[in-house]
Amino acid sequence: MSMKTSNRQVDGVTIVDCSGRITLGEGSVTLRDTVRDLLGKGNKKILLNLGDVNYIDSSGIGELVSAYTTVKNQGGELKLLNLTKKVHDLLQITKLYTVFDVKDDEASAVKSFGK
């Protein structure tokens, strides 16, 4: 199963609901294109909802890092929401859990973005 995304706006924050696999090839490209498109439209507060992402490989991890730094370099914020255990564990062992701002409640995650 490849990755799918859909976007919604909540209080100025773009929530990207992701599902499927973020892996080398299609999944990574989908994430990259989605973030690039949002930035191009001026949406710089991005909350990636990974609740339905059941698998991610090292390329997918790299794509998350790329998304994070790209958004940050453009003066925006990118945060992660609802990590599955697999993704959580992967971010832990790669020491990225402390790099990303990881949230588990959508409402408080939206409020945490700067005005």
Partner: protein, 148 residues
């Protein structure tokens, strides 16, 4: 239990990565590993196959990736070979070093080592061979009771 061996010769494409991962998942399941261990084995194989296709063979249609699964009473041994120039292990960065944390690549071998019990990497000028070993514990008849 006698040894079981399955070998594949695959093209240097992304389909090979998915095929190797699926085969690993199936064989590890049949060997009796639990879901979490199956996921780790399959992911390690995926990462090794990615390295073989991308970095080893560089998508060269004239080069192949050989994947070999061997199941014994003690171990599941997976060997992946490419026909590239040979991995330079000295150039593989530590992905946990602070200066490398935000790099977008370089985590594959680290994840492989994290997920498998033993990993041997043998680069040569004619390609790289990586051997991934997962120990089977508590194997009973036909491997049905194997667990981690």
């Amino acid at each position: 239990m006698s040894a079981h061996r399955v070998s594949y010769t695959l093209d240097s494409t992304l389909d090979t990565v998915n095929s190797a991962e699926e085969a690993a998942s199936q064989i590890a399941t049949e060997a009796g590993f639990g879901d979490e261990e199956v996921m780790k084995i399959a992911m390690a194989v995926r990462e090794a196959a990615v390295n073989a296709v991308l970095h080893g063979n560089a998508y060269d249609p004239g080069k192949k990736v050989m994947v070999d699964f061997e199941r014994t009473a003690e171990n599941l041994v997976i060997t992946i070979r490419d026909q590239g120039k040979g991995l330079d292990l000295a150039k593989v960065p530590d992905p946990l070093a602070p200066e490398n944390l935000l790099k977008t690549s370089g985590r594959g071998i680290f994840l492989i080592r994290s997920f498998m019990d033993e990993v041997e990497i043998n680069p040569s000028t004619t390609g790289t061979e990586i051997k991934l070993i997962k120990h089977v514990h508590g194997t009973a008849v036909d491997g049905k009771e194997a667990s981690q």
